[in-house]
């Protein structure tokens, strides 16, 4: 059992190092911008607006801009660890307060979209795998959906259901019903990708000799798919799910802008427009952290699905 604990710890360590790397990268990227970083932080990046020396002094003090770069970086890390993400000079608020306010709607949107995508892809793949015509139809549909820009898909859905059918409201009214549109918009392309990967893996698994053995025992086609093939297809599927979560986070920015919903994505877009760099960096870091977390969880799930990996990992850890 201790081997399993060791493995989890090791994986978490790798994730932390990756997150630290991401933080480092954003920190130094900001220094790559030509000009005084204080201006960038103040949201006056390239506009070169006149800024009072007092305000400049405060920013310099807060970010220790007069210290050596490495000192700045260590102090910056310290602030991040204590949960201080800086101040938005544009909105004149602590960044963390802004994030907390906007995190809820995005979380709800992303979760609902993920659930939708998973359900759609699971049902679709199990029903179409190993059958020629359904597979063909489904793969054509996947291609179209995966090739459709999220924002345009949202348009078309709006057009059909709100403008022409008047079934659902376009603009957010705050209730669950208004979540349906954006979530479906966000979920469909992801579902298409997941469906593609899952059906391909299921088809591969169904070609394996053990499936023939299972069928020769008298098992039906669907129960072979569910009991044998699905587990074998689960690893590429989970990998794709983890990967597409990143696309989902990016897509949230688009969907929230499109449907005029509050959320981190829209906050990001608006902050970019107003050159509110502290907020931009904070949103980027938070979404990256979530993305890393999701992929860590996915990685940790692998050995539960494939016991052969458990053995390999257990013996590998002692190397």
């Amino acid at each position: 059992m201790s081997a399993a604990v060791w493995r989890v710890l090791r994986r978490l360590g790798v994730s932390l190092v990756t997150l630290l790397g991401a933080v480092t990268l954003t920190f130094f990227a900001l220094r790559l911008v030509p000009g005084d970083p204080a201006f960038a932080i103040l949201g006056a990046g390239r506009q070169q607006v006149d800024i009072s020396p007092e305000v400049l002094a405060v920013v310099r003090e807060q970010y220790h801009l007069d210290d050596p770069l490495i000192v700045q970086f260590v102090l910056y890390l310290g602030r991040l660890l204590s949960g201080d993400l800086g101040t938005s000079y544009v909105q004149e608020q602590p960044v963390s307060a802004l994030l907390v306010a906007q995190a809820g709607p995005t979380l709800a949107l992303a979760l609902l979209a993920t659930v939708l995508a998973v359900v759609l892809s699971l049902v679709g793949a199990v029903l179409t795998a190993g059958r020629r015509l359904p597979s063909w139809i489904s793969s054509a549909l996947e291609l179209v959906l995966a090739s459709t820009p999220v924002f345009w898909l949202g348009f078309v859905l709006m057009l059909v259901f709100s403008v022409w059918l008047r079934a659902l409201p376009i603009i957010d009214g705050g209730d669950l019903r208004s979540l349906v549109f954006p979530a479906v918009t966000l979920a469909l392309p992801t579902a298409a990708l997941l469906l593609q990967v899952l059906r391909q893996s299921l088809d591969d698994a169904l070609e394996q000799p053990f499936v023939l053995t299972a069928r020769s025992r008298g098992l039906g086609g669907l129960s072979v798919t569910v009991r044998h093939a699905l587990r074998h297809a689960a690893i590429p599927y989970l990998t794709m799910l983890g990967f597409s979560f990143g696309a989902l986070l990016g897509g949230a920015a688009i969907t929230e802008t499109l449907f005029s919903r509050p959320g981190l994505g829209r906050l990001l877009v608006e902050s970019v427009a107003s050159q509110d760099i502290p907020v931009v960096i904070a949103v980027v870091l938070v979404s990256t952290a979530v993305f890393i977390l999701v992929n860590t969880v996915v990685d940790l799930l692998y050995p539960l699905i494939d016991p052969r990996m458990r053995e390999r990992a257990a013996t590998g850890a002692r190397r």
Binding site: G130, R132, Q208, P209, F210, L212, T213, A214, R215, S216, R217, G218, L219, G220, G221, R227, H228, R231, H232, I305, D306, P307, R308, R312, T315, G316, R318, R319
Partner: protein, 582 residues
Amino acid sequence: MTATPDAPLIRVEGLRVEFGRGAAATTAIAGLDLSLGRGECVALVGESGSGKSVSARSLIGLAGRDAHVTATTLEIDGRDARGFGERQWRRIRGSRIGFVLQDALSSLDPLRTVGAEIGEAVRATGGPRGRAGRVRALELLRRAHVPQPERRIDERPSQLSGGQRQRALIASALAGEPAVLIADEPTTALDVSVQKQILALFAELKAQGHAILLISHDLAVVSELADRIHVLRRGAVVESGRADAVLSAPEHPYTRSLIDAIPRFDATAPRHTASVAVAVEPPAALAADPSAAALAADPSAAALAAYPSAAASTPASSATVAPSPPPATGGTPLVVEDVSKRFRLRDDSERTALESVSLRLTPGRSLGVVGESGSGKTTLARVIAGFEQPDSGRVSGLGDDPRDVQFVYQDPGASFDPRWDVGRLLGEAIELRHGRLAAGERRRRSIEWLHRVGLSEEHLGRRPSALSGGQRQRVGIARALAVVPRYVILDEPVSALDVAVQSQILDLIADLQEETGVGYLFISHDLGVVQRVCDTLLVLRHGVVRETGPTDRVLAAPADDYTRELIDAVPVMPGGAAPPVR
């Protein structure tokens, strides 16, 4: 059941399986008749593509979703199965007919325990679940003589040995107490000694009254068990009859060629001079085959037909074309002294691949290294070739020119750069010895090598992936020899090939040695194959040399118990003077 005790459990007449429809349809099997009763064993024998597996699968309704199965009679337990839907087939599968595939590593779900797999089979055939199901699974494992069933039941296929896995697979097929067992190449993935034990298990089941339909490419395996044999070739039944009759007095030339092509060891038989005659025979026999014309369209059939002429032209071409620099005959021998090699496993334990192995080989001679899987024979080859460093001991006599030792692989396809055609592959090897050549000269020499290995100029522009297995191996041999090495290591060079092709390649290998004077280190699990080519044998087990000596002496009078075991494990054809070897 509706069947009376003596009525056949399965009766098939005019079985025909086609894939696709209309003009694009290909026929996998046409006109198979077969009947199988209690305690009987019927064998379907043929090479890959003969239609034997498809025929067997269509008896449980699993020929595949594109398959179109028709028959004038298809009775299972006396019931007409021709109109069966999926639901009815499912009642047959597992309960009336059990099915065993080759290589249990992939035929059992690698993610589940043996117990889960057998338990599923028990439930699917109406057996108990839960604790009672486990008891039943244990009972089945015991019946298949799986050692330590209480421990094995909670392990996964990858944790079992090859023989144990195969037994577990058979146990799962027995879950529904089927009267009939279909076994599709059930021993092909196994070492000979294990193969013998599994065949004994089938014999035991047969004695208990199970009817067995045995599918194999190997006449020798079948001869131990079968009462009747059907020989299949490219979808047609070429010969059917009682096993002893088919084996001792085959009527069809193809059957005869199959029997002849089986490498056999016979201490009194002279070596490859005799086998050359055998090898030229099959293609000639094919020409007499009435179906040969119809098969001419098939590229591999055409390749077969091309061999006699190529074989005839070989001596001529080697006499007329400018010979490559004279091969270094004699000279310093290749000496392996006290070589040991251990691998560290992931769990930090060590596995000994080689333990103080010594051998000696001179150019112009051939040494056969025989062993089962895990014997260290491939490691030995890799150490000699310099791919691996030995932990202790040394390899001498090679100098430091890597060109002096060449390799011929079991799977030549994987050893070629996938982007390159045959001409470029050979050209690279030729230039390695001769330095940069003009394009025309390079081409001329490449063609010369193609001729030597029985191929022709037309193969020059082809990619290896567009060649048949036998042709690919010929290119592999040509490439190795084109570097003009002193030694060639042949690592299971024919084990991936059909028997008839095997025989031709072995002859080519033997002929080229006479021509070039190269020394061979021939690695194989197959005593018969080694006997065809090698003058000296070395038997390896768990990295230790068990016996070494002249081939004839070792096979006729083995000094070591393990060697004797190996020889005894080889299936023996009844009535035949010479025991064939798989």
